[in-house]
Symmetry: C2
Subunit: 386 residues, 2 copies
Amino acid sequence: MTDHDRPLSGLHIVEVSSFIASPLAGLTLSQLGAEVTRVDPVGGAADVHRWPVTADGESIYWTGLNRGKWSVTADLRSEAGQSMVQRLVTDSGPGGGILLTNQAGRSWMSHDTLAALRPDVITLELLGRTDGTPGVDYTVNAGLGFPQITGPVGIAEPVNHALPAWDVACGLYAALAISAAVRRRERTGSGAQITLPLEDTALSLAGTLGYLTEPQINGRGRVGTGNDVYGTFGTDFVTADGGRFMIVALTPRHFRDLVDLTGVGDAVAAVAKALGADFRREDDRFTHRAVLNGLIAPWFAARSTAEVEAALQNSSVLSQRYRTFDEVVADGVLSANPMFTEVDQPGIGRYLAAGLPAAFDGEHYATGPARSLGADTPRNQPAQPT
Amino acid sequence: MTDHDRPLSGLHIVEVSSFIASPLAGLTLSQLGAEVTRVDPVGGAADVHRWPVTADGESIYWTGLNRGKWSVTADLRSEAGQSMVQRLVTDSGPGGGILLTNQAGRSWMSHDTLAALRPDVITLELLGRTDGTPGVDYTVNAGLGFPQITGPVGIAEPVNHALPAWDVACGLYAALAISAAVRRRERTGSGAQITLPLEDTALSLAGTLGYLTEPQINGRGRVGTGNDVYGTFGTDFVTADGGRFMIVALTPRHFRDLVDLTGVGDAVAAVAKALGADFRREDDRFTHRAVLNGLIAPWFAARSTAEVEAALQNSSVLSQRYRTFDEVVADGVLSANPMFTEVDQPGIGRYLAAGLPAAFDGEHYATGPARSLGADTPRNQPAQPT
């Protein structure tokens, strides 16, 4: 049995939101079928002009994260505006009563205020730090240890990540928490007051993945390994014409195939014997990676990028040529992928926009373009923009 | 109204799984109240000994990601083992019929095979590349463009991320997709066949965040900015005793406070006038960041880390001292955070383990330790390990 209704159809979510995590949560819920209304102050929130922008100054960022949502603006400092938002949340039918926000600490839209109007309300507040004080991806990341293990080995300076990974994870946890709370409410009638600090998102994942367990159990934390994958065999190699490949040998078969491909079987066997190592074991491959890297690198250095790419295609070894964003687009990766569909975004133009990465029964759920700011603001305040 | 039942209680999920994304999805669903049974081949999957490990070789990694799950082992190449797993998925009551796996392509546990036994089954297969061929976080990341914009400006080599951010996002999308599919099944009775490639996870997020839209609309992609935050004012500064702080001024108020704190108001105003810039605008702060960084850096360089930390605490500026993982633990961050609770993990010892970062009605959902591999394998195959 399959079902062509999207899994979260019938839900109405009000998002009082800005920046990355909270709008990403709203977009993701929208892709899954929920109706999402983003509420902004008149003129837009702090992220309305955020870079990247087009040559004309239109925000690619804002439109990318707010696709498929209604856009309502209101004077959030006025009682009329606050009351309109309260009604948007609480009057929106059986699938409504859901508030997603990163604007915590406003008593007029606190959980208690809204629950007095609608007892089964679900609210999710995204916070910065654990203690509720402000924090953003870049500050949370600095405090946690990842910049110190990122970048070339031997470099003294910490290296920030380019992808705001904690914002992304926080937005996805938020969407999940709302989806799970809805499932419970539909069974029991109970609402939920959910809080989700960005710092806790980062701490939880760093804990679960072991980074914060090592200092507790082994007495010291991870140190950087540059572009080498920690704990197994993986690194990057450069070709004769300056191409670069990331190579990973996770399993004994991957490693054997890599050794065969690069013709270093005898040398690897001799090294294994001399060092008492067994390269079928990933810990031995990791421990002796400098030697292995040195044995394997000349094969790449002696061949063109095209030759290397062709040879790797017939191997089990996990590999990928490093590409820039421009190359990804120029290579036709987006146009070949059914997850991307063309949107015609007012102010931006036509481009291939991404749907949900999870395909349900073969379908990648897409959304339309972003509405222009305030396009769905009710003219008579009590009405809903639907 | 609140509800102390966890939001996904009553669900039974079978996870045939390894590495990061899929086990993280299972752990997260377990934290939300689902009963999760991880199935492994006898002796464990490829990740059973994965680093980090203790001095005795026990995997901190495996135990961290498999907390709160039952552990069943079976000979997955035998008909008896396969049949046992099929029954685990399909016989597990109204909340069962859910399979989460990263082991795609096995016809005995394909969606069609299981749907023939239980029409409302929900299956989620995590794949590597979009086309179904293998790929891992490190190869997906290399192909997408982020390593080329990570690391110090001017460095020729791409810099891999240390956090496997795509695995994390993929695991969270997987948990969300299952939660949403369950919500639909409980309303309509329909199952779902969900596929989720790691590569599509990365492409979708890179698209949504604008990185893949810029080449399409502006004709060229993002270039690296080192530790400077793109599009606004944020960078790192070094103190007299070698401490380092990440500083972000997202709003005009943040920036004004930073300028006041560091006593460079006159110089900043003179520069603004000379350059025709308005530093209340984040694009102007970003464009002229090298000048602003240069004006502000001496204040940090002239003060000790303790002095800087004290001064920043009284400011609205977003700031964080860079810390290592060891410092996070030594600073008592975990013990002060109710999301962390002590687990006594056989083979590993006692440590503070992270619960779900989203708190429901003030409660951080925790799980118990990981079971030892195969501890819940049914002695008589038809039985369930509950």
